[in-house]
C-alpha cells in the first residue's frame, strides 16, 4: 500500500509540472503588454524597456520558463503581483478559504440531497417519483448558475430583503452563493447516482441476495449502495477540486473576493505572476483531491486493492520470466 501511495504521489509531479508549463506557454502567447497596463500609455520607450527589463519580460521564452519553474517549485515563491506588488501566495491564501467554503458546502449539499434523490429515483424506476427526480435533476443541470444566482438576488435580496446580495460580511451572506453554485452539481450527482444504482440493482449478486430472501432495505443500503457510490465519489471529488477554481462566475455575481474573482481580474490585467501562481496552486489542489479520493477508494474497495496487488504479482512473474530467458 505504501508503495502504491508513493507511486501515485510521484505520478503527480509530471502532471503539475505540465500544468505550470502549459499555463506559462498560454500566457506567453497571450497578446497584450503588461507593462502598458501597469504604467499606462503615457511613457517613453526607455521607461517601457526599463520596466520590462525589471520584470524580466525582455528575456527569451526558455529563460523565463526556467526562472518561473525554479522560483515556483524550488523556492516555493509565487512572486508578487505586477499591479499592486502584493505577495501572490499571501493573497491566494487569504482568498482560498472563501472559495473553499462555497465548494465544501456544495459538496456537502450534494451528499445530503443529491445522493438520496438519485437512490429514490432508482428504486422507483419508471414510477412517478422517478420521473419527478429526473425532471428536477435535468432542470438543475440546464439552468446557468449565474442566471439562477441573479434570480435568487432578485427574489431574496431585492424583493423580500431577506439575504444580502453581495459581500461576505456575515455567515448568511454565503447562503445565496452556495445555493446558486450547487444546483448544477446536485443535478449531475443525482443523475449519476441514479444510473449507477440502476446498473448495480440489475447485477447478479443483488438477484442472489433477493433469492436468499434478504430484506429489500438491506439489499439497497448494504449491498447495492456502497458499490453504486464508488463512481459517484470520484465525481464528487473531481467536482470539489474544480469548484475551487470554478466558482468564478458566482464570485463575480456576488462580488465575493475569492480565488476565481482574483484570477479572472489577473488574466484580463495580464498579471502573469498571479495567473501562473494561482493556476499552479489550483492544479496542485485538484490533483491532491483526486489523489485522496483514489486513496479512500483503495481503502474502501478490496477489488482495487487486489487489482494493485495483482499487477504487482504479474510484474514479479514477468521479471522472473525475463530473468529465465536471459539465463
Amino acid at each position: 500500500m505504501t508503495r502504491y501511495i508513493i507511486k501515485r504521489l510521484l505520478m503527480l509531479i509530471p502532471v503539475i509540472l505540465g500544468v505550470a508549463i502549459l499555463i506559462f506557454t498560454i500566457m506567453y502567447f497571450t497578446p497584450g503588454d503588461p507593462v502598458k497596463l501597469i504604467a499606462g500609455d503615457t511613457m517613453t520607450a526607455e521607461q517601457h524597456d526599463q520596466i520590462a527589463h525589471e520584470l524580466g519580460l525582455d528575456q527569451p521564452y526558455f529563460t523565463r520558463l526556467f526562472k518561473f519553474l525554479k522560483q515556483t517549485f524550488i523556492d516555493f515563491d509565487l512572486g508578487t503581483s505586477y499591479i499592486d506588488n502584493s505577495s501572490v501566495s499571501q493573497q491566494l491564501f487569504t482568498r482560498l478559504p472563501r472559495t473553499a467554503i462555497i465548494a465544501s458546502v456544495c459538496c456537502l449539499l450534494q451528499i445530503i440531497i443529491a445522493i438520496p434523490l438519485g437512490v429514490t429515483a432508482a428504486t422507483h424506476q419508471g414510477g412517478f417519483l422517478d420521473s419527478f427526480c429526473i425532471v428536477l435533476a435535468i432542470i438543475a443541470i440546464s439552468v446557468p448558475s449565474f442566471w439562477i444566482a441573479m434570480m435568487f438576488i432578485l427574489l431574496f435580496s431585492l424583493r423580500l430583503d431577506w439575504l444580502p446580495s453581495f459581500g461576505i460580511d456575515h455567515w448568511y451572506s454565503y447562503i445565496l452563493p452556495c445555493a446558486a453554485n450547487c444546483l448544477m452539481g446536485l443535478g449531475s450527482t443525482a443523475r449519476q447516482t441514479r444510473s449507477q444504482m440502476l446498473e448495480v440493482i440489475r447485477s447478479d449478486y443483488v438477484v442472489t441476495a433477493r433469492a436468499k430472501g434478504v430484506p429489500e432495505r438491506t439489499i439497497l443500503y448494504s449491498h447495492a449502495l456502497p458499490n453504486a457510490l464508488i463512481p459517484v465519489i470520484t465525481h464528487l471529488g473531481t467536482q470539489f477540486g474544480s469548484a475551487l477554481g470554478g466558482t468564478v462566475v458566482i464570485e463575480t455575481v456576488f462580488s465575493i473576493p475569492g480565488v476565481g474573482y482574483y484570477m479572472t481580474n489577473a488574466i484580463s490585467n495580464r498579471d502573469y505572476p498571479v495567473v501562473l501562481g494561482g493556476v499552479t496552486l489550483l492544479a496542485v489542489l485538484f490533483c491532491l483531491v483526486v489523489f485522496l479520493v483514489d486513496l479512500i477508494y483503495a481503502f474502501i474497495d478490496p477489488r482495487i486493492k487486489a487489482q494493485y496487488e495483482g499487477s504487482q504479482k504479474k510484474r514479479l512473474k514477468k521479471t522472473e520470466k525475463r530473468g529465465k530467458a536471459y539465463a
Binding site: 502532471v15 500544468v19 502549459l22 443541470i141 440546464s142 462566475v249 463575480t252 488574466i267 493556476v279 492544479a283
Partner: protein, 313 residues
Amino acid sequence: MPELNVQAETQERDRHSHHHGHDHHEKAVKRSWKDSNFYGVMQRFAKNKVSVVGLIIIILLVLTAIFAEQIAPYNYRRIDPAHANQLPSAAHWFGTDAQGRDIFSRIVFGARYSLSIGVIASLVGTLLGILFGALAGFFGGWVETVILRICDIIQSIPNILLCICVSQVFGSGFFATAMALSVYSIPGTTRLLRATMMSVREQEFVEAAKAIDCSPMRIMFKHILPNCMAPLIVSFSMAIGMKIMSSAGLSFLGLGIQEPIPEWGAMISAGRRYLRVAPHLVIFPGLFVALVVLSFNLVGDGLRDALDPKLRK
C-alpha cells in the same frame, strides 16, 4: 476413423455456413430502410416523449435562427431611448432594454449566435477528441501514455479558467470564443473514445477482420471507429448545451462574445446593472439559455437510451 469424422463434420458445417450466408445475402437484398440501424434508433428515440419534445424545441429554435429576419418584429439594432427599460407589453413582447431595443427581436437574432457557437465549439472539440483518442487507441504504447498524460494536465486546470486563458490568446471574436470553448472538452472526448475503443477492440468481429488479414488502418477506420460512435454522438449532443451555457458564462464575465452582438449571455451581462428596475432584461435571455440547454440535454438522454445496446430487446 476419427479423422474422417472430423472431415465430414467440417464439410457439414461449411455447407451449413454457406447456406446460411446465402440466406443472409438474400435478406440483405430485400432489406428496406426500415431494417436499418438508424431507423431502429429513431424508433426507440421516438418512444421517449420527453426527448422528442426537446428535439422539437431545438428544431423550432433552429428555424427561428434561420428565419430571424422574418420573425423579429423590430430591427434588433434599433436604439430608441424614449422607450428604454419598458416592461413586456403587446408592442414589445419581452419589453425593451436600456437602449430601448426590443428584447424579443434581440433574442431571436441571438439564437443564431448562441446555437452556432454551441455547435461549432462542440464539433471542433469532438473532432479533435476523436483524433487524439483514435491515435491513442490505435498506436497504444508511448503515444497513448503521452496523450493521456496531456489529458491529465488539461483536466487539472479548472475548465472556466482554462477557457478564459485560451480566450485571451485567441481574442474575443466569434470563432475565437468557439475555439476557446472547444479546448476543455478535448480530453473528455479523447478518454471516452479510447475507453470505447479498448472494449470494442476485444470483440470477435475485430478478431475476424484480423483473421482475414485486413490492414490495421482498415480495421481501425472500417471496423473499430464506426462501432465507437454511439457514446460520441451522445456526448456531442450534451456538449452543445454545455457549450452554449459556458459561452453565456464567458460573455457574462465580459470575455466571450460582447455587446452589441445579441448573444444571450452578453444580454444577461448587459442587463445585470438594471436588475432592480428592469429584471426582464435578465430573465428572458436566461430563460432561453436554460431552455436550449435543457432541450439538448433531453435529446442527449434520449439518444443514449436509444443507442444503448443494453436496453435493447
